[in-house]
């Protein structure tokens, strides 16, 4: 055999199941289930009302079928909307976390015990529907930074949650956002007070474990005036034959002169060679640059999921605000991704940058979909978009759908796009210098993604590089 061809992929490394007793709500969705989830979380009346409003809206909405992905119908009544490990610790002491959960996160490379944790990174560990541990909370509190599960924030900081929750992604924004609003169970909450530069990286690790459940997490990050925060999320799930739904909502709010940097390393189970199983990752992520000179920067490295449907976007409302989107999306095996960003320019002199790198291997299908909208009042807005696609092998596909809508003639728009194929000659050149075929592909791909990787926090850039190597391993003959 010669040349480049799809071969057997290396097995998914994080596909193990933790044997732990769970409290699972029976499959099905109705108003009682929504009320039950709210009750389990001990939520105030305004929350349950908001959830019900979203649920009633959701009933009238239709699942979107415009993305460039194919999958069978989802039976929303067959999904369980709540699963939690039974022995739940009181979050005051990490010593009370079930050792099995600690071991699970250890195995995923996320030590929960603080002393072992990478210095400078605080972690919120979410297992199925609940947060099981949040590290460094006391340390962060010294700076006035709140970092806790959102269920806890609803109880302890209702004034902040009520003020901002749903202001960036309304309860009826889209089908999956409405569903999330009705049934979300946990996620992270961050508040960085005025003028504070958050002293460490914050991160959340999402783990799906139970079968036949969906994970619906909700994240809300608020950066008050002149503050700065860098946040990272990671995710993985066991290998199962069924498809599992992950429908998250992330809302970011940056006030005057504040900056939020949000990085994602997504490694949900992608399904097997034949496309059986894997996570449906249908998420809504949006940041609002509410204040002047504010900045929201998204960096994502997407290697997992059977199907990805996500468009982390920025609403550039404050004058001189900045939105950024740096993305690497890899599809191999039979993975499908329809991902990109939305940049909505409202304020004057707002600027946005989009750098998207799509890599397709095996029978993967990779679509970039982006919207840049310059509204009437956005005098002097600027956008720079760059979409690069790389193909490995001849059974995969790359697609690009950039939408541009300009309503102010002073706008300056730049768009660059390229498609390249890792050629036999490129790989041969590197092999002739002594590199193995796999190292050759890894080097070419990493070079291709460099502009995105350099945006990641240092420790995670190393992780991303490694992950990319693993997910493409075996895709070259």
């Amino acid at each position: 055999m010669t040349g480049i061809e799809a071969q057997v992929q290396q097995p998914y490394k994080y596909g193990f199941v933790t044997d732990i007793e769970s409290d699972v709500v029976p499959p099905g969705l109705n108003e009682d289930v929504v009320r039950l989830i709210s009750a389990k979380k001990g939520e105030p009346a305004w929350m349950v009302d908001w959830r019900l409003k979203a649920y009633r809206n959701w009933l009238k909405m239709e699942e979107p079928h415009w993305p460039n992905v194919k999958y069978g119908p989802i039976d929303y009544q067959a999904i369980s909307y709540y699963a939690a490990p039974k022995k739940l610790p009181k979050l005051e002491s990490l010593d009370q976390v079930d050792p099995k959960l600690v071991a699970t996160f250890e195995k995923l490379g996320i030590p929960i015990e603080e002393q072992k944790r990478l210095t400078g990174v605080a972690v919120d560990a979410v297992f199925d529907s609940v947060s099981v541990a949040t590290t460094f909370q006391a340390e962060l509190a010294k700076y006035g930074v709140i970092f806790c599960p959102i269920s806890e924030a609803i109880r302890k900081h209702p004034e902040l949650v009520q003020k901002y929750l749903g202001t960036v992604v309304p309860h009826n924004d889209n089908f999956f956002a409405a569903l999330n609003t009705a049934v979300f169970t946990d996620g992270s909450f961050v508040y960085v007070p005025k003028g504070v530069r958050c002293p460490m990286e914050l991160s959340t690790y999402f783990r799906i474990n139970a079968s036949s459940t969906g994970q619906f997490e909700r994240t809300l990050i608020i950066a008050d005036e002149g503050s700065y925060v860098s946040y990272l999320e990671g995710c993985s799930a066991p290998m199962r034959d069924e498809n599992q739904l992950h429908a998250a909502v992330v809302e970011l709010v940056a006030l005057d002169n504040a900056t939020i940097k949000y990085s994602t390393i997504q490694n949900w189970y992608p399904g097997d060679e034949e496309g059986k199983g894997g996570i449906y990752n249908f998420v809504t992520k949006r940041g609002k640059c509410a204040g002047k000179n504010s900045k929201v920067s998204w960096t994502q490295v997407e290697t997992g999921s059977a199907i990805t449907w996500k468009y982390p976007g920025c609403i550039l409302q404050g004058d001189n605000s900045i939105g950024e989107f740096y993305s690497v999306a890899v599809t191999s095996r039979r993975q499908q991704a329809d991902t990109g960003t939305k940049m909505i320019h409202l304020g004057k002199n707002t600027r946005s940058t989009i750098v998207s790198k799509g890599i397709s291997a095996g029978r993967g299908q990779n679509t970039y979909r982006g919207l840049v909208k310059i509204m009437k009042g956005a005098e002097g807005a600027r956008n720079y978009s760059q979409c690069d696609s790389m193909l490995i092998g001849d059974q995969c596909g790359a697609h690009t759908f950039p939408y541009i809508d300009v309503r102010n003639s002073s706008a300056i728009m730049e768009h660059e796009a390229s498609t390249s194929k890792i050629g036999e000659d490129q790989i041969f050149y590197l092999r002739q210098r002594g590199l193995s075929a796999e190292d050759a592909v890894s080097m070419i791909v990493n070079g291709f993604c460099k502009e995105v990787f350099k945006e990641l926090p240092m420790e995670f850039a190393v992780e991303a590089t490694r992950l990319l190597g693993i997910s493409l391993e075996g895709s070259v003959g």
């Binding site: 010669t2 040349g3 050629g423 036999e424 000659d425 490129q426 041969f428 050149y429 590197l430 092999r431 002739q432 210098r433 002594g434 590199l435 193995s436 075929a437 190292d439 080097m443 070419i444 990493n446 070079g447 291709f448 993604c449 460099k450 502009e451």
Partner: protein, 251 residues
């Protein structure tokens, strides 16, 4: 060093080499000349192991080993180097990172310790000094935006750093102006050594004005039709290739 016997090679079903015999001893410099399409580049590519070429008959022995049984990277680690006619570009990877990875792949194979970036820098500076070049190419992405001359120079620089025992140069002179040609030729001359052999493929005699080969071969229609000393190159320059091709057909 290298023994090629009755080598037949096809690409996409078309036979390009039709029984090549070549014997290169340690420290020798062989030039392979010939008209366009005679199979010169194919010979270097197949010796380096390009997967697009199929060996249909014949053998190639390199330092006593069956060369054709080795993967391209194994040949490279065993000290076979090909200076490409068309070096490829690799976005986002600096030349120095690439070269250090290559050096370390070879060192690992030899059971030597891998070089960290600082150690590598020291080795690199020593090699650059030996051939009288500076390091302006090192921090740029591999071959990206390089001029034709820079690409060729980069190939020779890699040769210098990787210290192969058998170096194949595929039309390294093509596309070079006379000054660049001299620069490259001087570097090659400095790299000649008793334990290092060269096979230099060239279309024109002019490179051989600066690098004096031990043996000159003429490859035509997939076979070596004539071999001789350095003077053969001058004869070819004056007479062209047709007289040899006709001869080859008759014989």
């Amino acid at each position: 060093m290298l023994e090629v016997r009755g080598l037949h090679v096809a690409v996409g079903g078309t036979e390009i080499l039709r029984g090549v015999d070549l014997s290169v001893k340690a420290g020798e410099v062989h030039a392979i000349m010939g008209p366009n399409g005679s199979g010169k580049s194919t010979l270097t590519q197949v010796l380096a192991g390009h997967p697009a070429y199929t060996v249909t008959a014949g053998t190639a022995t390199y330092e006593g080993k069956d060369l054709l049984a080795l993967k391209p990277e194994e040949r490279a680690r065993e000290g076979l180097f090909l200076a490409f006619q068309y070096p490829v570009e690799i976005r986002g990877i600096t030349n120095s990172y690439f070269l250090r990875s290559a050096v370390n792949a070879v060192r690992k194979h030899r059971g030597q310790e891998e070089l960290d970036p600082l150690d590598f820098l020291a080795v690199l500076e020593e090699k650059l000094k030996a051939i009288g070049w500076d390091d302006t190419l090192m921090n740029r992405p591999v071959n990206e935006g390089f001029s034709g001359g820079e690409k060729k120079r980069n190939e020779i620089l890699q040769l210098a750093v990787l210290e192969p025992r058998l170096a194949l140069l595929d039309e390294t002179d093509s596309g070079l102006d006379i000054d660049a040609l001299k620069t490259v030729a001087n570097a090659v001359n400095k790299l000649r050594a008793a334990d290092r052999s060269f096979v230099i493929v060239t279309h024109y005699q002019r490179l051989l004005n600066f690098i004096t080969p031990d043996v000159v071969h003429v490859l035509a229609d997939g076979r070596i039709v004539k071999s001789g000393g350095p003077d053969l190159a001058h004869e070819l320059e004056a007479k062209g290739y047709d007289w040899l091709r006709a001869g080859a057909m008759v014989s």
